[in-house]
Symmetry: none
Subunit: 151 residues, 2 copies
Amino acid sequence: MVRTVVIFGGCMAVLLGLLKWAEYMFFARDLALEAYIGIVGLFCTILGGWIGWKLTHKPGPATIANDLKLEEARSYEYPILNNFNLSPREHEVLILISEGLSYQQIADRLSVSLSTVKTHASNIFSKMDVQRRTQAVMVAQKNGLIPPAKG
Amino acid sequence: MVRTVVIFGGCMAVLLGLLKWAEYMFFARDLALEAYIGIVGLFCTILGGWIGWKLTHKPGPATIANDLKLEEARSYEYPILNNFNLSPREHEVLILISEGLSYQQIADRLSVSLSTVKTHASNIFSKMDVQRRTQAVMVAQKNGLIPPAKG
DNA sequence: TGTAAAATCATACGATCGTATGAGCCCAAT
DNA sequence: ATTGGGCTCATACGATCGTATGATTTTACA
């Protein structure tokens, strides 16, 4: 994502350069002020993008509602184990899979991309030695990795 | 995301055009250099923040929508196995799905065609009001339609 | 400070899933 | 005999899944 902003900043630079060139060609004006403003604009654009990214992009588990579910499950004397060396994020994804969510829904819930979720899922299946999400859910239930089904 | 970039580019183009227009027409020449740069910087910062937000903020989540229906069904104390009016064959397929088998594997197990299994599954999901097999398994577990997972 | 683990993202590809539609067969009940 | 429900099968199609590969960035720790 940072790369996206940087690339866009580069595009802006190109745009400004083209504008300067056109202006120089047609009006032959002094370039110092324009170039200065262009640099400032580019810099502020990148800075603003970075700020916006920092303020809004918080995919960490601290902001995710599913952590509440994890805590809830733990507090309700349902021990959430981890026998397959899953990372916290992978564990989180596994729980959301067990709730019947699609990858896209999980990506939205965690504020990450679809690719990330699929990567996590693939690693989960690899670690748990299964081929399908239904198998993963079954194994996870038998080993207490996910909250038990109520009812 | 692409649209966001396009919109940003359009805003930048508008900004640059307005600056040029203002510079040649009205007050730009009279403004202090610091104020001029400040305006550009502020504008670009806000736009940059907007683009950063747009690029990183994902739309809201989607949750499973049949919990109410489940609670309703359970509160009426219906016979568990008749909750969803599954036929014996459909029930059989549901159990095999819950064991993590693919449709092809279920077809082989039941000695029927893949089409038949998919038809059964589709009818199951329709009767249970779910969209994915994982949801069906979860609902089935909560209602005792399938054998519980053993630890 | 360097490193390893974790998390993120992208692209591509084949496999599987789920839906829709239409059809034929068997069997029990009307 | 007709009807309806259950079971079967086929085709087509879009959606989703799962894997593979490679990359960058962040974080935790020695």
